[in-house]
């Protein structure tokens, strides 16, 4: 066990901190889930990319720094410690990119990844449909083969698409075998959101931001991949036709896993919670609230250590497997708890639309999205503990 950072890791931290401290915008940007806020966030993403901080763990060729997973953790810690903006590019970087790394052709990687890391292309996910939320296998949106035109024609509806109204690409599953049911016969498509055959309608979220969208496809044509940039700009397929489920599962497992919610974010929240409580010391802070703060803070520490343990395994080549569901359940409920304690500390002012109430509402989505925590609990029970599936 060695819980210290190496010299080169410390140097990386120093470099990241110094850059972030000079560049992170103050005051904090407004939410990136509104039209105006999104534009400001885009400026920030471009600044990150310009100095190669947008995807530190990617190869340099695609805009990264070849940083290790440890360095990635360090970067995230520093990023949230200084209050870096929410990453509006995260769906592409954390959810789609791992799939492109695993299933994309070299040409696809060369085309899509640099455009993603530099925030030229902005990706949203298209998993949910009106009748396929938690039940991803119930997807009905379809892609019909058009051999004459040499491509696919997409129709159907996706919904709950975070920041869908501000992105120019979507990734998701479409049924390519009309006879198929459930997990079979779906294909993983990358789809442009501009042009004929696509309608995007933004709508309001709990916290007042219009960060959701419904996306309607009506005979949208995606040409077959000929390896040219012009064609890839019009969308494409990842992996094999009709094998989309397996491709998507690789993505959803990364969504639940290490890279989406680095401990840095929750430790930063826990630190702010402790600061909020400190302001009340000597001015009405009860033992009970102090202990509630300590308890939530301990959980943030536990999450950090759990992640260090997982990363230690991953860098030595061990698979995380279904253990990543532990991770998803814990961080999402920790995030809710941290905000609940803060709101309790605020007393009657909690109802005001301040940063903690905003954060609380955002946190409430954690146990729902990326596979509800009920489903994650089933996964842990069946695949980790070994209880019968039924």
């Amino acid at each position: 066990m060695d819980l210290t950072w190496s010299e080169s890791e410390e140097a990386f931290r120093t470099e990241a901190r110094s850059w972030l401290e000079s560049n992170v915008p103050t005051p904090a940007l407004p939410s990136g889930d509104t039209k105006e806020g999104f534009a400001l966030h885009l400026d920030w993403e471009h600044r990150l990319a310009a100095d190669n901080w947008s995807v530190v763990s990617w190869p340099k060729a695609f805009g990264g720094r070849d940083a290790s997973l440890w360095e990635w953790l360090i970067f995230e810690e520093e990023y949230y410690r200084v209050g870096g903006p929410q990453r509006v590019t995260q769906n592409g970087i954390f959810l789609l990119a791992p799939t492109i790394f695993e299933f994309g052709t070299p040409a696809q990687q060369e085309y899509y990844l640099p455009r993603m890391s530099s925030a030229v292309d902005l990706w949203c996910q298209g998993w949910s449909e009106p009748n396929a939320g938690s039940d991803l296998a119930a997807v009905r949106s379809k892609a019909t083969r058009d051999d004459a035109a040499g491509g696919w024609r997409l129709s159907g509806q996706k919904t709950w698409t975070t920041r869908g109204a501000f992105c120019n690409y979507l990734f998701g599953l479409f049924r390519t075998d009309p006879e198929s049911e459930r997990h079979k016969g779906m294909t993983y498509f990358m789809v442009p959101l501009e042009g004929d055959g696509v309608t995007v309608r933004g709508f309001g979220r709990l916290d007042g931001d219009e960060g959701f969208a419904e996306v309607f496809f009506d005979d949208l044509f995606i040409p077959d991949d000929d390896g040219t940039a012009a064609t890839m700009a019009r969308g494409g397929i990842l992996g094999e036709v009709n094998q989309g489920w397996g491709v998507a599962m690789a993505t959803t497992s990364s969504e639940r896993g290490l890279t989406l919610r680095s401990p840095g974010r929750f430790q930063a929240t826990a630190t702010r919670l402790v600061e909020l409580a400190r302001e009340q010391v000597g001015n009405g802070l009860s033992e009970q609230m102090a202990d509630a703060v300590a308890d939530a803070w301990m959980d943030a520490e536990a999450y950090s250590l759990f992640t260090l343990s997982d990363v230690s395994g991953v860098v030595e080549g061990k698979a995380m497997g279904a253990r990543s569901s532990y991770n998803k359940i814990f961080w999402s409920e920790l995030d809710v708890r941290l905000h609940e304690v803060a709101l309790d500390l605020l007393g009657p002012s909690a109802e005001l639309d301040g940063p903690w109430m905003k954060g609380y509402q955002f946190a409430l989505s954690g146990p729902i999205y990326a596979g509800t925590n009920e489903i994650q609990r089933n996964i842990v029970a069946e695949r980790v503990l070994g209880l019968p599936r039924k």
Partner: protein, 357 residues
């Protein structure tokens, strides 16, 4: 011994429920929000009031239910009003029914001997002509200095240490603040130095005692509304879980969903008797009334938090959108859970009584 509402109370409650269903549905509620986009639709430009529901309640005599007959009211008790506030909560009515019919009447009734104005104001309430807000700015009770829809009100009662003032909103420094619940068009009143004798209603011990009673009612009113809000959220969620299918079955058939909702429902079912008992205690001047109110508010707040959490989780993403109705009720329950003393404040009042530490 009979721990149940009377036939008349049940009937009154049913009438009020029907009336509110007609006059304060999700559309009317959205119209009370100043900001249409935050409400998830509607006309926008609301001022935290639902005029149709308010005037219907006034017409039925609900606002004057506790006003003495001598002042034109029904001279009934907290026991009669509290079940109606549960219904107001069910409808998420943002109007100051509890503040006017409960809190203000409690304060004014204790001032009729010393102040002629008090009787006139009571008569105005009974006539359905006056709406009140109330703020507790300093003293032994929990500070509550947010007043919803303050600019729309006729009078605001201010309890400050050993004084009770009654002031028109135009004479007060009101700072508009943004509640998570837009239908609470909220204003903050900070401690007002410039209050002079012209607005005093009560002073000294009489004011302190009246303030305590008024605060107790304010807390109980919020508790009652929280019970109604909780029931509404659970009803919506049961309906949704019965309609919505995932994995080929109704999601309400999953044991996890069943147990989430049962747990929240348990909290509500065992909080409501505490609310009704506290109403009885206030009506009878039971010396334990304040403790009973605190039990009610602590448990009703906790129940509403549980109901909101379970409802959102079972709904999933749709509950997370403002175009769906759940948020109208959930945000109110978040706000009221902290108003007039949160869970910790009221539990502490109970433990102080039990253990005197």
């Amino acid at each position: 011994m009979r721990f149940a509402l009377t036939e008349e109370q049940i009937e009154f409650r049913a009438v009020v429920r029907g009336l509110l269903a007609d006059t304060c549905g999700p559309d009317e509620l959205r119209a009370a929000w100043p900001d249409a986009e935050l409400a998830g639709g509607g006309p926008g430009g609301g001022n935290g009031r639902v005029p149709g529901a308010w005037s219907a309640l006034a017409e039925m005599g609900v606002l004057g239910i506790m006003v003495p007959e001598a002042n034109g009211g029904l001279e009934m008790t907290q026991e009669d009003l509290v079940p109606l506030l549960i219904e107001a909560g069910w409808a998420a009515l943002p109007d100051p029914v509890s503040a006017t019919a409960g809190v203000a009447v409690t304060l004014l009734a204790q001032a009729t001997d010393s102040e002629k104005r008090a009787g006139e104001l009571l008569a105005g309430i009974a006539a359905g002509e006056l709406s009140f807000g109330c703020a507790f700015l300093a003293g032994r009770v929990a500070t509550s200095n947010f007043v919803p829809a303050a600019t729309s009100l006729d009078q605001i009662l201010l309890c400050v240490n050993d004084q009770v003032h009654v002031v028109g909103p135009a004479s007060l420094p009101l700072e508009r603040v943004q509640s998570v619940d837009g239908a609470r068009d909220l204003f903050r009143i900070d401690l007002v130095d410039q209050l002079d004798n012209s607005t005093v209603l009560l002073t000294g011990e009489a004011a302190e005692s009246a303030t305590r009673s008024a605060f107790d009612f304010a807390a109980l009113g919020a508790a009652a509304e929280l019970i109604g809000l909780s029931r509404r959220m659970l009803e919506m969620t049961v309906l949704y879980a019965t309609e919505r299918k995932q994995f080929g079955v109704q999601i309400g058939s999953f044991q996890a969903v069943k147990h989430h909702l049962t747990n929240a429902s348990l909290a509500v079912e065992f909080a409501e008797p505490l609310v009704l008992r506290a109403a009885n205690s206030l009506a009878l001047g039971n010396p334990q009334a304040s403790v009973h109110v605190s039990m009610a508010k602590a448990k009703a707040s906790a129940a509403a938090k549980a109901a909101a959490a379970a409802s959102l989780q079972v709904h999933g993403a749709i509950g997370y959108t403002v175009e769906y109705d759940l948020h109208l009720y959930m945000k109110r329950s978040w706000a009221l859970a902290g108003e007039f003393g949160d869970v910790e404040f009221h539990r502490r009042r109970v433990s102080d009584e039990l253990l005197a530490i």
